[in-house]
C-alpha cells in the first residue's frame, strides 16, 4: 500500500516518495483508507447505471472533439466539400461543417457516429437502470432523493439528445424543430411568444442552432455533471444495495473490495462500453444527414423517424383523434397538443413521485438495503409493467406509418388499434404481471416446502412411481424466504375519534397493494410440511 506511514523503516521507493509528497499536500490518504477497501456488491443489473455513466464519458470525449470542427451558425453558404451530390447546394454553415466532419476530416465520421451512438446508448441505459431500480424497489428509504436526481437526469438526457439531434440543421432535424415549434405554439397563453423568443423571431429564423448549441455543450452538460456527482456521492453515503443472499443483511454490504477488484472490473467495463460504441460506430451508419439534405420547410420524405427516445412523445401526438381544437373566448385551445403534453406530464410525474407514494402506503420508515426480487412485490411490479406497456404503445405509435407500410395494414387500422391498446394494454399487462408474480411466489413456496424436482423417478415396491424431490440447502432456501410482505392497513380513528379522508385513501391504496399477497415460508410451515411427508 502506498499510504507511506513511517511506522516501520522501508526502502524509499519512488512510489512511496511521490505518495508522501501528494499526501502531505492533499490528505488523500484519509480517502484511500476510507474508500479503498469498501465492499461493492456485485450483480449484472448493477452495471446498467455504469453503462449510462460510461456512455456519458464517451459522449463528453467525442463531443469535445466535435466542438473543434462544428460551427453552430445558420449563415447560408454554398456547399463546396467532397460530397458530390450536395455540391453547390445552399445550406447553413452548421450543416456544411457537419458534412465536412463526415467527408473531409479523417476519422471525423467515426467520432461523429460514436457520439450519436453513445447518446442513444446513454438514454437507453438510463431507462433500463431506472427500470432496474423500480422493479427491485431500490428507490426505498434512504434512496428516494437519488431516484429524483436520476429522474431529472433522464429528462436532461433526452434534452441533450434532442438539442444535439437538431444541431446539424438537416432536413430531418429541421422537421423535428418544426414539430417542437408547432407544439409550443399550441400551449395556451404563452405558446406564441415562447416560440417567438426561442427561435428569435419567426420559425426557423437564424438563431436556433446557436442557442441549442449553448444548451447542448454548456448548460445541460454542466447540470448533468453536477447531478452525476451528487448521484454518485449518494451511492457512497448510502452504500450500494444488494440482493438477498446468505450472509447479506440490512446491516452490511457484501462484495469485492473497491481496490483492486471493483476498480479493475469497473475500469475495464468503461473500456468495454467505449469499445463496443467504437465497434458500432465503425460498422453502422447513424443519422446520414447527407441523404436528407439541408433543412427546407417544404420537402419531407415519408417514413421519417425521430431518435428512439423522443418516439413516445411523437407517438402521443399521433394518437389524438381529429378535431380536438376549439375556439373559445376568442382564443384557440389546441387540445390535440395539450392532451399529449399534459398526459405525458402526468405519466412522468407519476414516475417521479412513485417512491413517496409507496412509502406513504406502507408507512415503513426503515432503511432498505436489500432489494426485492420483482415477484415479491406483485403490485409494484404490475404497476411497472402497466407503465412500460403504456410507454411501449406510445413508442409503437411513433412508427405507425412504418407499421402500416411494412405489414400492409391501413393507417387508420393501426392508429385505432394503438388507441385502444393505449388504454387496454396497461390493464392487461397489470393483471398478467401480477398473476405471474403471485404464481412465481407460489412456486417459490412450493420449492421451499417440498424441495425441487430432481428428475429422478423411483418405483416403489407397490408399483407406484414417484419423482424424488430434493430439499433445498439452507443457503438456497434463504434466497426464497428472506423477504417481507405487508398487510393491508386497518383504518383506525385518530386521537379525535375521526377517520380522515387521507386515512381512507391510504387504507384503500394499501388494500390495493397488499390484499393479494403471499407470505414467505416460515420455519413452522417447513416443519409441518416435513411432518406431512413422513
Amino acid at each position: 500500500m502506498s499510504t507511506a506511514t513511517t511506522r516501520e523503516p522501508q526502502r524509499r521507493t519512488f512510489t512511496a516518495a511521490a505518495s508522501n509528497y501528494i499526501d502531505e499536500r492533499t490528505s488523500v490518504s484519509t480517502f484511500v483508507k476510507e474508500l479503498g477497501r469498501k465492499a461493492f456488491p456485485d450483480h449484472w443489473s448493477f452495471l446498467l447505471g455504469e453503462v449510462a455513466l460510461f456512455s456519458f464519458l464517451v459522449i463528453l470525449i467525442t463531443g469535445t472533439f466535435l466542438t473543434f470542427f462544428f460551427q453552430a451558425s445558420m449563415a447560408e453558404v454554398e456547399y463546396d466539400g467532397s460530397y458530390v451530390p450536395l455540391k453547390g447546394v445552399e445550406m447553413s454553415v452548421a450543416m456544411a461543417s457537419t458534412l465536412d466532419i463526415s467527408f473531409d476530416l479523417r476519422g471525423g465520421l467515426f467520432v461523429r457516429q460514436m457520439h450519436h451512438w453513445a447518446a442513444l446508448m446513454f438514454v437507453a441505459a438510463i431507462g433500463l437502470h431506472m427500470l432496474r431500480i423500480f422493479f427491485t424497489g431500490a428507490f426505498r428509504k434512504p434512496r428516494e432523493l437519488n431516484w429524483v436526481i436520476g429522474f431529472v437526469m433522464f429528462i436532461l438526457a433526452m434534452g441533450e439528445g434532442f438539442t444535439g439531434y437538431s444541431l446539424p440543421d438537416d432536413l430531418l432535424s429541421g422537421n423535428g424543430l418544426r414539430i417542437i415549434d408547432g407544439m409550443i405554439k399550441g400551449i395556451p397563453l404563452i405558446g406564441t411568444w415562447t416560440s417567438f423568443l426561442l427561435f428569435g423571431g419567426e420559425f426557423p429564423g437564424t438563431a436556433i442552432v446557436g442557442r441549442l448549441y449553448t444548451l447542448h455543450i454548456l448548460l445541460l452538460p454542466v447540470i448533468l455533471l453536477a447531478l452525476i456527482a451528487l448521484h454518485l456521492m449518494f451511492v457512497v453515503v448510502h452504500k450500494h444495495t444488494q440482493y438477498a443472499a446468505p450472509g447479506r443483511t440490512q446491516q452490511n454490504a457484501v462484495g469485492p473490495p473497491i481496490l483492486p477488484i471493483y476498480a479493475a472490473k469497473a475500469g475495464g467495463f468503461f473500456f468495454l462500453v467505449f469499445g463496443v460504441l467504437a465497434l458500432i460506430a465503425s460498422l453502422f451508419t447513424i443519422n446520414p444527414i447527407w441523404n436528407y439534405g439541408p433543412y427546407d420547410p417544404s420537402p419531407v420524405s415519408a417514413g421519417t423517424q425521430p431518435d428512439w427516445y423522443i418516439g413516445f412523445a411523437d407517438g402521443a401526438l399521433r394518437l389524438i383523434p381529429p378535431g380536438w381544437e376549439f375556439v373559445l373566448f376568442d382564443r384557440t385551445w389546441s387540445f390535440n397538443i395539450l392532451v399529449p403534453l399534459v398526459g405525458l406530464g402526468l405519466f412522468i410525474a407519476t414516475v417521479l413521485i412513485y417512491p413517496f407514494v409507496e412509502a406513504w402506503v406502507t408507512g415503513d420508515k426503515r432503511e432498505h438495503h436489500i432489494v426485492d426480487r420483482p415477484r415479491n412485490n406483485p403490485t409494484r411490479t404490475a404497476i411497472g409493467a402497466a407503465g412500460v406497456t403504456f410507454y411501449a404503445v406510445l413508442w409503437a405509435a411513433a412508427a405507425s406509418d412504418i407499421i402500416a407500410t411494412h405489414f400492409k395494414l391501413t393507417m387508420e387500422g393501426v392508429i385505432h388499434s394503438l388507441q385502444a391498446l393505449l388504454f387496454l394494454g396497461p390493464i392487461v399487462a397489470y393483471f398478467v404481471a401480477k398473476r405471474v408474480c403471485i404464481a412465481l411466489q407460489k412456486k417459490d413456496r412450493e420449492i421451499v416446502l417440498h424441495g425441487y424436482e430432481s428428475g429422478r423417478i423411483v418405483k416403489l415396491p407397490g408399483g407406484e412411481f414417484i419423482e424424488v424431490h430434493q430439499p433445498l440447502d439452507e443457503y438456497d432456501r434463504w434466497k426464497l424466504v428472506s423477504y417481507e410482505s405487508y398487510e393491508p392497513l386497518m383504518i383506525r380513528p385518530n386521537a379525535r375519534g375521526k377517520i380522515t379522508v387521507g386515512q381512507r385513501l391510504r387504507a384503500g391504496m394499501s388494500r390495493w397493494f397488499f390484499e393479494d399477497r403471499i407470505a414467505p415460508v416460515t420455519k413452522g410451515e417447513l416443519e409441518a410440511a416435513h411432518h406431512d411427508h413422513h
Binding site: A39, R106, L189, Q251, V254, P260, P297, E325, T332
Partner: protein, 358 residues
C-alpha cells in the same frame, strides 16, 4: 467514523456478528413473522479453477497480457489506418474505409483493455469478498444535537427569527433581484415585431405568380393537367436575401388539378379555383410539417409526420389524424398571359394553431 474501522474485515470475521437488531423505527404495515428463517450466514467459499489449477492460472494470466498486447496492436492499427486510408478524392468509398478501419482499430484497442482488465479481476486477482457494516444514514444523536445547536446559536447571534423586518426585507430583495435578468431575455426575439401579426400574413399578394419549388419558374394554367400536383412557392421567394426560409415556411403551397365534377367547393369559395385547379397551404395545421404526400386517385393529402389526412375534393377538410382544421386555401386566378396568380394572401393564418388565432 471510528466504527468504520470494521470495514474491510474479511467474511469469516463478519460472519459471527449479525444478530438482527430490533428495529427502533416504524415498520408500517410490514408483516414481521416470529418464526421466520434466520440468515444462515455466508456459505463456504468456493475456489475458482484458477485457484486450484496452477496451469489454468498461468493460462488466465497469458490471456490477460495477450489482450493488453492486442490493445496496443489495435491502437497502432488505428493510427496506421489514419494514414493508409486518406479521404482525398470525392469518393464516398474512401470515407467508408477510413471510418471502418480507424474504428475497428480503436475498438480493438479499447476492448483489449476492457476484456483484459475484467478478466484479470475475475480470474487472476485474489477472490475476496468483504462485508462492510452499514450505519444509519442519518447522523448520530450527538451530531444532530450539535447541528441544531449551531443553528440556534447562529439564529440567536444574527437575530434571524427575532428581527423579522430585516429578515423579511432580505427575502423580498432576494426574490426580486433575479427579475432584471429575466427581463433581459426579452431580447431573445426582436423588439419591434409582433408574432401574431407575422403569423397572420404570408408573401402572397394579389397578382403574385405561382412558381415551381425550387426553380421559381411560373406556372401556366394550361400546363396543369388533371390529376397532377405541383409544389409551389410565390414568385420572388428564391431571390429573397433575408428570411427566405421563414417566408417559405408559411408560403409553401400545393397545387392540384381535379376533374371539376369531383371538386366539391364551398359556395363562398367558388371563385377561388380555376377550372378544377386548386391551391392549398402545404403547411400542416397540426404542428407544421409539410403535407407533401398526394394520393391522386382519392384526392387525399397525407402529412408524413403525424398522418393527418386532408380531402382535397372537399376543401381539404380533415378526414383522419390529429389535425383539427382544414388546410387554408389560396384563392387563385389566371392573369392575362395565362399564368396562375394569387387573388390575395391566405384569408387565415397558415400552419399550426396558436393561442391568439381566432
Amino acid at each position: 467514523m471510528a466504527q468504520d474501522d470494521h470495514s474491510g474485515t474479511e467474511l469469516a470475521a463478519a460472519d459471527s456478528s449479525h444478530a438482527e437488531t430490533v428495529p427502533a423505527v416504524k415498520t408500517g404495515t410490514a408483516l414481521i413473522q416470529s418464526d421466520a428463517f434466520e440468515n444462515p450466514g455466508f456459505p463456504p467459499h468456493r475456489p475458482r479453477v484458477t485457484d486450484e489449477d496452477p496451469k489454468k492460472e498461468k493460462r488466465a494470466q497469458r490471456t490477460v497480457y495477450t489482450l493488453f498486447y492486442l490493445s496496443i496492436l489495435g491502437s497502432i492499427w488505428a493510427i496506421a489506418a489514419y494514414m493508409l486510408f486518406p479521404m482525398e478524392g470525392n469518393d464516398v468509398g474512401d470515407v467508408r474505409l477510413n471510418n471502418l478501419f480507424i474504428g475497428l482499430g480503436a475498438a480493438l484497442a479499447l476492448l483489449g483493455i476492457g476484456f483484459g482488465a475484467v478478466h484479470w479481476a475475475k480470474a487472476v486477482m485474489t477472490d475476496v469478498e468483504i462485508a462492510d457494516e452499514r450505519h444509519k444514514v442519518g447522523g448520530n444523536q450527538v451530531a444532530r444535537e450539535g447541528a441544531v445547536k449551531v443553528f440556534q446559536d447562529a439564529d440567536r447571534e444574527s437575530g434571524f427569527s427575532r428581527r423579522a423586518v430585516i429578515r423579511n426585507s432580505l427575502i423580498g430583495a432576494l426574490l426580486v433581484f433575479p427579475l432584471p435578468a429575466v427581463v433581459l431575455f426579452r431580447g431573445l426575439a426582436p423588439q419591434d415585431e409582433n408574432p401574431v401579426e407575422l403569423l397572420s400574413h404570408t408573401m402572397w399578394k394579389a397578382g403574385t405568380r405561382l412558381t415551381l419549388d425550387p426553380s421559381g419558374v411560373p406556372i401556366k394554367a394550361s400546363d396543369v393537367t388533371i390529376g397532377s400536383a405541383f409544389h409551389v412557392i410565390p414568385e420572388g421567394l428564391s431571390e429573397l436575401h433575408h428570411g427566405k426560409l421563414e417566408e417559405k415556411a408559411k408560403a409553401a403551397v400545393l397545387l392540384m388539378r381535379l376533374n371539376p365534377d369531383e371538386l366539391n367547393e364551398l359556395p363562398d369559395r367558388a371563385s377561388w379555383s380555376y377550372d378544377g385547379i386548386v391551391a392549398y397551404s402545404k403547411i400542416c395545421t397540426h404542428v407544421g410539417c409539410p403535407v407533401a404526400l398526394y394520393e391522386q386517385h382519392t384526392h387525399h393529402l397525407l402529412c408524413p409526420c403525424h398522418q393527418s389526412q386532408f380531402d382535397v375534393a372537399n376543401h381539404c377538410e380533415v378526414i383522419f389524424g390529429p389535425a383539427a382544421r382544414p388546410l387554408p386555401q389560396l384563392p387563385i386566378m389566371v392573369d392575362d398571359e395565362g399564368y396562375l396568380v394569387a387573388q390575395s394572401d391566405f384569408t387565415e393564418p397558415v400552419g399550426p394553431s396558436f393561442w391568439e388565432r381566432h
